[in-house]
């Protein structure tokens, strides 16, 4: 009995590792087939992510922060059965709010200005996710559609903001003025690493405890696992739980937008996000929606992205090739999951 559970636990750990290995093998084969110097390219990939203290502190971790923060939210929503694929838009909603409020708070003390900026970004993300929640619960519009379409709206909104109300005072480039120092997150001197890392690690631990040990976390898991039984046996208001989880996941994506503006870019511009909101779906899935595992998978995908820039620079391999590896990892995880589910169903059937 305990042996079989131990094996199951190992399977749970090994599938993501095997998936990552498969992704890297396919990447190497693709590089080789396309005529690149595969060993050199992979070395560059590694150096870009983990090669030096500078790579870790200024390339890897700053990219990991938005991926982990958004991934935590997506994991929460998916656990509740809400398929939020609009984190990109919620991220931008948070970034707009952070910029707007941050530009107004130049005269505030930093200990007040920074929390206010982060709170504004969180609220904006929450409200942006509230729209598809209402559409789903009131009008039956699937949240997959609602969250997805609002991504385009948010991107258009950013585009308008940086050419209109939030454009820099010189009115030359489509970007905002830089945020005043008071509205910026503290940064580790000599690096690009900001305080958001500690906050998001704290969030991951908190969410892990919530899902495991608390009644609200349990109710969220029950709602996602079987909403009918959750309401019939558990008396849970599953619509409320669904809306709260979707809202919370929007809030986390918005917060990631706030982190990015007040900790990394210090300004709003188009394509502020290199697709963090979408990559974070993979981050959450690879972590099996587990908040602590999300830290690891967030770091992995950040390393791939940081490394891909280095690979382009040093081995002249287009950065998009790395997307192939990311896609292979996701597909491998999904397949392993489907295979495992079928096996456990077959066992239950005997």
């Amino acid at each position: 009995m305990s042996a079989s559970r131990r094996i199951q636990g190992l399977v749970g750990l090994w599938t993501p590792l095997a998936a990552v290995a498969a992704g890297l093998v396919v990447l190497a084969l693709a590089l080789w087939a396309a005529g690149y110097d595969a060993p050199a390219a992979l070395q560059a990939l590694w150096r870009g992510g983990f090669g030096s203290q500078d790579a870790v502190l200024s390339a890897l971790l700053p990219r990991a922060i938005p991926l982990i923060t958004i991934g935590l939210g997506i994991g929460l929503a998916f656990r509740a059965g809400a398929l939020n694929i609009g984190a990109e838009g919620q991220f931008y909603a948070g970034a707009i709010a952070a910029t707007w409020i941050g530009l107004l708070l130049g005269s505030w003390p930093r200990v007040l200005a920074v929390p206010t900026v982060l709170l504004a970004s969180l609220t904006a993300g929450l409200l942006w996710a509230a729209i598809p929640a209402v559409l789903r619960l009131r009008f039956g519009v699937l949240e997959v559609i609602g969250t997805l379409l609002l991504n385009f709206v948010a991107e258009a909104l950013v585009s308008w903001m940086v050419q209109g109300p939030l454009q820099e005072s010189k009115h030359i480039y489509p970007q905002s003025d830089p945020l005043p120092l008071a509205a910026r997150l503290p940064i580790l001197p000599g690096t690009r690493l900001h305080l958001g890392l500690l906050l998001t690690l704290g969030l991951a631990a908190g969410l892990w405890v919530m899902l495991r040990r608390t009644l609200p976390g349990f109710q969220l898991r029950a709602t996602g696992a079987n909403p009918l039984a959750a309401s019939v046996m558990g008396g849970i208001n599953t619509r409320r739980v669904f809306a709260l989880a979707l809202g919370a996941s929007g809030a986390l994506a918005g917060l990631a937008g706030g982190f990015e503006v007040s900790g990394t870019s210090f300004a709003l511009f188009q394509s502020l996000s290199p697709g963090y909101g979408f990559t974070a779906i993979a981050v959450a899935l690879l972590a099996r929606l587990n908040p602590l595992a999300t830290i690891g998978t967030g770091l992995l995908f950040a390393a791939l992205e940081a490394g891909s820039s280095a690979m382009q620079r040093e081995a002249q391999v287009p950065a998009v090739v790395v997307w192939v590896a990311e896609a292979v990892i996701i597909i491998a995880v999904v397949l392993a999951d489907a295979w495992r589910r079928r096996r456990s169903l077959a066992e239950a059937g005997t």
Binding site: T214, P216, A222, L228, V232, G234, E347, A348
Partner: protein, 486 residues
Amino acid sequence: MPPALALRGITRRFGSVEALAEVDFSLEPGEIHALLGENGAGKTTLMSIAFGLLRPDAGSISISGTTTSLRNPTDARRHGIGMVHQHFTSIPAFTVAENVALAAGWRLAPHESAARIRRLAETTGFAVDPALRVEDLSAGLKQRLEVLKALAADARILLLDEPTSVLSPPDAEALLRQIAEFRGRGVATVLITHKLREAITIADRVTVLRRGRVVHSGPVRSETPESLARHMLGEAADSSPGPAPVATSTGGTRMSARTLAVPRLGGSGSGLREATLTLQSGELVGLAAVEGNGQRELFRAIAGLAAPSSGTLELGGTVAFIPEDRTAEALIGEFTLTENLVLSQRSAAPWIDGVWIDWRKAEARAAELIAEFGVRARGATARAASLSGGNQQRMVVAEALERRPAVLLAENPTRGLDVRAAREVMERLRSAARSGVAVLVHLTDLDELLSLASRIVVLSEGTLLELPAGASREEIGRRMLGVAAS
């Protein structure tokens, strides 16, 4: 003229249960033949054999005098047999024309199918606008479309399995009128129904099944609802004892519903109409009803899962509910038994402290219940989906009783259980009543219900009837079928 469809000596077993025993059934060309019987009498099994969905263990099938074997529904359709199921089988997002073309295997341009459907509608009277989307049709039109689909496939023999059970009374009447008008145009129809009036109004002949055997077959002319009910329930039933009288010294009212009305849940059934019912501490009330007559709504309104449209409901304590569908409504399959226990006990449980859950405490209690209720599982950390149906139900019953309810609702709690597990569940309900719980239970098997309950109430088309103590089985059966007292 040979019969359109003749089934001879049909026998079919499911495991050790003999669902049909040497059944003879013949359908004359152009007639409407009603097929009646209680739940589990074998009606649907017989029609599934006639439609090639099941193979008989013995017996023969002949169509217009030629003996054939039907291997599958495609075979049956080729022989001109069409079946209309109890539930709709059309694609909601497709138009009427597309659905008909799909069912009949037409390969035509859309306007050609539409024209053909209009011609068919003229000759048969089953008119539905071919351009409408199915999701926009009323329930009555949807069911008309189901018949039209069968006719479009050139069916000469129509098997209708309770076609009116999902319809409101006016829609049901309209559909029946159409079927009646359609008689004599060369199509022979079998009508399975629970509604005796329906059978008497439109059928030419009637065959009654009881426990897998034909107990009566003949013209409808000479029948009354009472005589049909007697055939269905059996002569012997007259003398069989009814429920034991209500225990008189009960400990007070635990549930009181006054003129409680509940709109129907889901697409079918009648909803609940102004039901008045009280449950006393220590009594075990049996709710007798044919499927879709308002029991779903009554249970869920008392359990707080469906909002009444009018009336009042007073409760004297916690209500625990054992829903009919174990795997969909009562358990979360991928959760452990401990997690399922925590779910069912909600926030008022010893392992809940504010927002925190003490899993060790919950697991210890789950292990105790598993032992006490004889749940065969690998332990408290076994996933609910890994248990057999009987063990799942033991756990669900344990969860319900663990809530120390004042009122216990059990909706068909023996469904799909083997005899031993079913008996055990019934014994649990009995002992709950003995300990002062007010129990309301619905079972599809009337005999089981009579053996269990101390008092019987009947729901028929959403109307609740209290029966006097000592009412006979036959009386109860007739009330379930909507036949007035004689």
